[in-house]
Symmetry: C2
Subunit: 147 residues, 2 copies
């Protein structure tokens, strides 16, 4: 049956961020729905942010469109010089190549949930606030050295 | 600002279905968010179904993954021999190539809203309940003749 039981899909708070930057997403619990449900054309993840957690560090992709829809609770969408409260039903789109780093922060005292859609990025991702850059499949310092 | 105002995006109830089959989706009002927001990697549409309207005729795609999430109201997910009530927050996935035709029907007395994700299908779409088949970019009767 295509309607699925979300809670039957495993959650993980694993991150590829190198150690100095991993703490911010420790309270980010992700269910990767695409592989679990047999979808390959696009990525779709269900994300729960515990109070205080971030969806990511503020970033933008050179070659990956992203789309989010809030399902429950609330989070603050952080962009370049801008904070926007996101509540259930609110949506946001992040076209590839727009140099406006974004992240969601759960500044509330309750969990929030959202869906995130995208595709596997092959190009670079930029992190304007921290010493991090994604390129050629791994994380680098901004001077180009590897973590 | 990536958070967008949904109501500023135009709705249409246009359909490519040939006349005998168009009536079922007359109360389906679609906002194509991808083009409006600059997303190209995947398709995303916001759909409002008026009472009595269907999202489509029951169909399945040979080469397009689909994913839906209900945002408001309720609809019945019709599949091969199965009816499932979908309420806000419920999600369903339809991997390409699974011959289980699906559609949403709004059998309630209020509007319902959902998001639908996919990609442009290049291959065939099958309609098990009616004399309709999508192939080579246009609709055919099941005997192969064009509408």
């Amino acid at each position: 049956m295509p309607r699925f039981n979300l809670t039957a899909i495993a959650q993980t708070n694993a991150t590829g961020y190198p150690a100095p930057h991993a703490a911010a997403v420790r309270g980010r619990w992700v269910r990767r729905l695409g592989p679990a449900l047999g979808l390959a054309d696009f990525g779709v993840s269900h994300v729960t942010l515990k109070p205080g957690a971030a969806s990511s560090h503020r970033h933008w992709h050179e070659d990956e469109d992203e789309f989010i829809v809030m399902l429950a609770g609330q989070a603050v969408l952080m962009e370049e010089g801008c904070r926007t409260l996101m509540r259930a039903g609110d949506m946001a789109a992040f076209p590839k190549g727009e140099p406006n780093g974004h992240q969601l922060l759960n500044e509330s005292e309750a969990d929030c949930e959202f869906l995130a859609f995208g595709r596997v990025p092959l190009g670079d991702a930029h992190y304007p606030d921290i010493d991090l850059h994604w390129s050629a499949g791994c994380y680098h310092h901004k001077d180009g050295s590897r973590y």
